[in-house]
Symmetry: C2
């Protein structure tokens, strides 16, 4: 599989043309194979001829998570025999969605992740330790494996958690790269320190970060980023992806947003009325991933909120870049008249270096209103708690209930039994009903 | 990757010729690339010319696990850059051995497992739930994934344990095949029953069994086999493999031994003096896996004890078949003058249908002698314990100490935290020193 990555450095116009070409072929495939899009277009009296180029994409209605949930089978564009794998979304906002992959999708996934790793300047000389799982129907774990081996790098399938085993892998195979959730890399680094091993002296020189932002909306390193680079002698690369889009946005060395892979995905930033927001404004990431055979999507609203940046990157690539995730639509909290997102609370808490772990818990009170709690480890002194309260009030104008609990309780809430990805935001509103 | 499986049905002579051809090319590769075999041959004044055909294989000294442990790096036959993955053995008999794979080895692994699944008559129409892990550097998990997707079957990467999640996969994707450790499939089936779900009414029609024998040395179904087919409406296929050999021996529908894949491996059954045992006798499985690029092996003594069967199979294949594993060399127990293997104790205990779980624990007493205990669940009545004692005495002429403990203790010993494969035999002799 030879990959031409030169297009990333083409002019903005050429990139748009490349995207246009992939879009039209993807649209044509979707309309000839997906029962769901066929009926949707028919119902709207919309045809392929109405969409002459990617500039007409706004004529196509957006696709929501609820639509995929409700009409899952109709989204399938191939016969059951062509399916080689079933994966699911992590289901942070409800029941996981099932996605079916074909051979071609498996190869596309490998290509996507190989491109993402190349953006981090990872080469065939590197050894990559994957500290996320390849079990539990998790697409990302397999994407890393397929992409890294396609690149020719060496892989160690380590799996989630278990710091002793992670260390055994580092000692044994001297990986240069970790693929990790940043807060896990931080916890693991501290575990090594507690065992008398300085993470800086290990072979690890890069951490590919998933699941949590390491910069704020101005690309400034957040506290997690600062803590990680104090602990490890590494460069950090943020990466954003999801099962539905099967494509990653990955930071190059400049660290000013995750680069779009132009032959694999088109991205729009939309408001609540599905209109594009002004350039540089926050809106909902809406994707049209190209070349997907099993379950093609058109204008899928991800629920994640971010900004898009189109100015050429200092690395020389002219591909658009996605900023840090600033919130998640389904996680909007209404708290005493104020609207906010868990990510905003995380950004504030991450500024207090003593706070090494926490969860944000949302439940319903007896009146059915949102009840917001931040649970902090019980080893923290009272003045740290007071500082957190003050900062939250200053920055977000909210006073959530601050509680303390054991480190074990917090760890278990972050990574409950059977889960494959840690979460700091625990939404208990559903459970109450 | 087109696979010619016709050779399995060729005449015994043609199979031998095919093996001869693969052997000579493998030998030539090993001697030109493996530092370890180069020095070994040089030290013995042995050259390629001395080995004209596979009939001369006995001139090559055997390779032991200890040699790979001690000279791991010298076994590597490629540059570090060509390595795409590191895996390790499970380390049941000491520190895990590291094995490096190249792209070609990854493809060979896929081919091997595809062939194994085809022997079970699994096709592109099937959906396979992998209930072992793909993490923890486990070769088998990845082999199943690569082989199954190469075959065109659909895969669900489920991971180890977690019966609720396993059931969610069955409910959601209706797999026709489980890949499972038989005792887990039994436990999981009973879990379903306890939830009011009859395993017989699920979509599962085949279980590919790994890690534990389901037949005795006469190919008669053992108790585990009987219990499984009472619980599930399935056919069972035993499969034997190891990380070092990267090749599986899998039962066809006749269930009379695991078929050798002639283009991928050669097998000898040797005694303690590295001489072939008489046909049909028990000895140590010694393998020469063909076509391995990263860490090629010649005459590797696996430590596993079994018999080889060469009479043509009722399925029409003329490939030799490996009988059930009857013991493991490093697990030989000397107990009050008698020599025995944990597998023999398991075979006896598996005859008592009330005994649904147990561990065999070997430690050293204060005199440094083997101390043998069988730990049974505390819900068992006294007369069952007495029956076990009687049967062990009758069949094996041993009286191990029988103890009872909680089901939780036994489960935890079978699958301790961080392990990727269950074990019923716990050797605590090493720990004492």
């Amino acid at each position: 599989m030879e990959i031409d990555t030169n297009s990333d450095f083409s002019s903005i116009d050429d990139i748009k043309q490349l995207q246009n070409q992939h879009f039209l072929s993807h649209l044509s495939y979707s309309l000839s194979h997906s029962v769901y899009y066929q009926s949707k277009f028919e119902a709207l009296d919309l045809s392929l001829e109405d969409i002459q180029s990617i500039d007409d994409i706004h004529k196509i209605p957006v696709t929501t998570k609820e639509e995929i949930e409700r009409h899952n089978v109709d989204f399938l564009a191939v016969s059951k025999k062509q399916i080689i794998e079933y994966v699911t979304t992590s289901g942070t906002l409800g029941d996981p969605i099932s996605i079916a992959l074909t051979h071609q999708d498996q190869q596309r996934l490998a290509r996507n992740e190989r491109r993402a790793l190349e953006l981090c300047q990872i080469t065939a000389e590197d050894t990559i330790q994957i500290t996320t799982t390849l079990d539990k129907r998790f697409m990302a774990g397999m994407a890393y494996y397929l992409g890294a081996t396609a690149l020719g790098a060496s892989v160690i399938r380590s799996g989630i958690g278990d710091p002793d085993f992670q260390w055994d892998n580092i000692r044994r195979f001297e990986p240069t790269v970790l693929i990790a959730v940043p807060s896990f890399a931080y916890k693991f680094g501290n575990y090594l320190l507690s065992k008398g091993i300085d993470p800086k002296t290990t072979s690890v020189r890069k951490i590919v970060c998933i699941g949590e932002p390491i910069r704020d909306s101005n690309f400034e390193p957040n506290t997690l980023h600062q803590k990680l680079t104090e602990l490890w002698d590494v460069t950090l690369h943020s990466t954003y992806a999801s099962t539905e889009m099967a494509t990653a946005f990955t930071e190059c060395n400049e660290g000013i947003g995750g680069h779009l892979l132009p032959e694999l995905i088109y991205v729009e930033i939309l408001d609540d009325h599905n209109q594009p927001v002004a350039m540089g404004e926050v809106g909902e990431i809406t994707v049209t991933p190209f070349g997907i055979e099993g379950m093609p999507l058109l204008r899928y609203k991800t629920g994640d909120l971010a900004r898009l940046h189109t100015a050429p990157c200092l690395c020389g690539r002219n591909t658009p870049r996605l900023g840090a995730i600033e919130g998640r639509k389904g996680q909007m909290i209404k708290w005493k008249g104020t609207t906010l997102f868990p990510q905003q609370i995380e950004n504030v808490l991450n500024h207090i270096s003593e706070i090494d772990n926490y969860i944000i818990e949302l439940s319903l009170d007896e009146l059915g209103l949102d009840k917001l709690k931040v649970i902090l480890p019980d080893h923290l002194d009272e003045y740290i708690i007071a500082q957190a309260q003050r900062l939250l009030q200053q920055r977000l104008r909210v006073n959530p209930i601050l509680e303390q609990n054991t480190a074990a309780y917090i760890s278990n809430e972050i990574l409950p039994k059977g889960s494959r990805k840690p979460r700091r935001f625990v939404d208990k509103r559903e459970l109450v009903h």
